[in-house]
């Protein structure tokens, strides 16, 4: 079993030390008009490179750009579609974080490439492979206010969003991304919509070329729909273990053949797990997996943690892998 370490998405862009707050200051100056767009982009890139460096230093095999340029997981992607206006703030799941809600006023079409430049930049400064991350069509549709009559049936909106996102997937794959992560946390609350998500993922997969697609679900209990999640048309399934005590046993009972991303390290709470407590769960889960590859990652993006603690959580992933190799197995 090859255990690969990866991030589940975001990385904190600001830390407690004054020198870790450059982006916060740059953003303020940019909002005041004192910093030009290229200057602000440069500031974002410096922090992107830092976020990647922190992941590499922690020993990750597959990094993300930290989503440093994203305002939030919903409006960053949806805001790049025509027919969409970005509205006021709403709480993002049960986090203490707020996103801007898209308002759909017309047919959704991609205005142009969104992530490809960030992806190219990230690969240019990373010693490790970069995994692009996209918020999926189902979650984006769920958090949108739909005003356009053409989307009275929400399925049509989900499909149009999927087509627009498939263009992103195609671009990223063509640029060399080998694994592209699609985030669909909201599906955990709506098992009845799994067929709709499956259709949307098929549309996304149409653009994936040589790349693999990973579906990450988090912020909820995956157990009620676990077996059906394994049937979705994706290559990797990322699971959040922090919402269900016996998710490991449930996985063992199914013995899936899909490649998994195990979100055992809590990306939401500052308590540091011990390598031993994670090893205990891995020793239960890993023997039941049929794939010869498994990802180990935090339960969600790390932006919900202070930056220093996010670094420690990433370093913990390496410790867990070392601990596992040095252990009984």
């Amino acid at each position: 079993m090859d255990l690969k370490l990866t991030s589940a998405g975001s990385h904190p862009r600001v830390g407690d030390a004054p020198e870790d707050q450059r982006l916060r200051r740059a953003r303020r100056l940019w909002e005041e008009g004192a910093l030009s767009d290229p200057q602000y982009l440069e500031a974002q890139r410096v922090v992107t490179a830092e976020a990647i460096q922190e992941q590499v230093a922690a020993g990750l095999d597959l990094v993300t750009d930290g989503q440093v340029r994203w305002g939030d997981p919903i409006s960053h992607v949806a805001g790049n579609f025509s027919g969409v206006e970005v509205n006021g703030l709403l709480r993002y799941f049960d986090t203490n974080f707020y996103f801007r809600q898209p308002v759909i006023r017309g047919p959704v079409k991609r205005k142009g490439p969104l992530l490809i430049e960030d992806y190219r930049y990230a690969t240019s400064v990373s010693e490790r492979s970069v995994k692009p991350v996209l918020t999926g069509p189902y979650t984006t549709a769920f958090f949108s206010i739909v005003e356009w009559k053409g989307y009275r049936d929400r399925r049509v909106l989900v499909e149009d969003l999927a087509r627009a996102l498939a263009e992103e997937v195609a671009d990223l794959s063509a640029a060399g991304a080998s694994l592209i992560q699609i985030d669909e946390p909201e599906i955990l609350k709506h098992p009845e919509d799994l067929p709709l998500l499956a259709d949307a993922l098929r549309l996304l997969a149409a653009g994936k070329g040589k790349a693999q697609l990973a579906l990450y679900v988090y912020f909820g209990d995956a157990r009620p729909l676990l077996d059906r999640l394994f049937d979705l048309p994706v290559d990797v399934l990322g699971l959040d273990f922090t919402y269900s005590e016996d998710l490991a046993e449930r996985i063992v009972s199914i013995s899936p053949d899909k490649i998994l991303g195990l979100g055992l390290v809590d990306g939401r709470n500052t308590r540091l797990e011990t390598p031993g407590e994670i090893r205990q769960i891995l020793e239960v889960v890993l023997p039941s997996l049929k794939a010869d590859l498994c990802y180990l990652n935090p339960s969600c993006g790390l932006e919900y943690l202070p930056r220093g603690r996010a670094r420690e959580k990433l370093a913990l992933l390496s410790e867990i892998r070392r601990d596992l190799k040095g252990g009984k197995r």
Binding site: V14, R27, G71, F97, Y98, N269, T270, P306
Partner: protein, 319 residues
């Protein structure tokens, strides 16, 4: 029933008493003083002078506009959670995390056993009550919301952290009661974010209020209210304060299906809009509500929510 409780407590309120949710905007002079204090340019005493001055101004204002149940306006708080976290033992300051856009805050972290070491808000309540003959509410944040807005490095899970906080918040309620408060508001705006946790959130409120001779109000805010109704009617308080006017009263449909059985603080003014409603519009909202709630229009309290609550909804906190 609660009307009698109000009477027993010596509170003679009119049929539809008016009040606010809690926080008022901080005047520019106070905001400046807070900045100065953070920079170390002025003393704590100097800051508290400003806070007292601002509190006085808001008490005067509330009396002038004719409110029946007053608040101190929370001039001394930067935040509805961090304020209590700083005062309770067992909390660390926690690192910076982003709340949205370019906004960051220090999210408190529970790093040890939570302990109430002495009155937190009681001095402020005394000060505010000393300025008016009308009743002033004691204002606290509930255990579930403090837990939900903090990291937890000490207790085994969210439930354990919530109960530990509940025991300590109760001591602050008791201190307010001993100081003479009759009405205490224990806000739980986070209550609807994880509906599966409602049972222990309800139990925690029982720990806070049970057996205490006070009239309890709780402000429930954003989130999916329909997921916690009617279960929320078991919250151990006399009165639920609900924002209702920005959702154009769709809660009333819920109440038609399942009758609302507590006293209600009915948010008749929408604090999410800068436009001031006409008296006619407010009357229409009130009449719409009365149709659903009329069997027992006993003790409820139409609420004119104050403007900072707008921020609280957006950020989950008033800062």
């Amino acid at each position: 029933m609660s009307r009698e409780k109000l009477k027993e407590l010596g509170l003679d309120l009119p049929l539809l008493p008016t009040t606010t949710v809690g926080s008022f905007p901080k005047p520019e002079t106070l905001r400046e003083a807070r900045t100065q204090f953070t920079r170390g340019a002025i003393s704590r005493e100097r800051l508290e002078d400003e806070e007292r001055r601002a509190t006085e101004a808001w008490i005067t204002f509330q009396q002038e506009v004719g409110l029946d149940l007053l608040v101190d306006g929370e001039m001394y708080r930067g935040d509805m959670v961090a304020y209590f976290a700083e005062a309770l033992k067992g909390f660390g300051r926690g690192g910076l995390v982003r709340s949205y856009g370019n906004r960051y805050y220090h999210k408190p972290a529970i790093v040890g056993e939570v302990k109430w070491e002495g009155p937190i808000t009681t001095q402020w309540w005394k000060f505010a009550q000393g300025l008016s003959s009308r009743p002033v509410k004691g204002m606290l944040t509930g255990p579930y919301t403090i837990m939900d807005w903090s990291f937890n490095e000490y207790y085994p899970d969210r439930k354990a952290a919530c109960f530990a906080l509940a025991k300590e918040i109760r001591k602050e309620v008791e201190a307010l009661g001993e100081a003479g408060a009759k009405v205490v508001q224990v806000d739980e705006p986070a209550l609807s974010v994880r509906s599966e946790e409602l049972p222990f959130a309800l139990e925690a409120m029982r720990v806070v209020t049970e057996g205490l001779p006070l009239y309890f109000v709780s402000h429930i805010c954003y989130g999916a209210f329909e997921l916690i109704y009617p279960g929320i009617l078991n919250l151990a308080v006399d009165n639920l304060d609900l924002e209702m006017s920005n959702s154009e009263l769709d809660l009333l449909e819920l109440f038609e299906k399942h009758p609302f059985s507590k006293d209600l603080s009915f948010g008749v003014l929408d604090v999410h809009s800068h436009r001031i409603e006409s008296a006619k519009k407010v009357e229409a909202r009130l009449r719409a509500a009365l149709r659903v709630l009329s069997p027992r229009p006993s003790g409820w309290t139409p609420t004119a929510a104050s403007r900072p609550v707008r921020k609280r909804r957006r950020e989950g906190r008033s800062r």
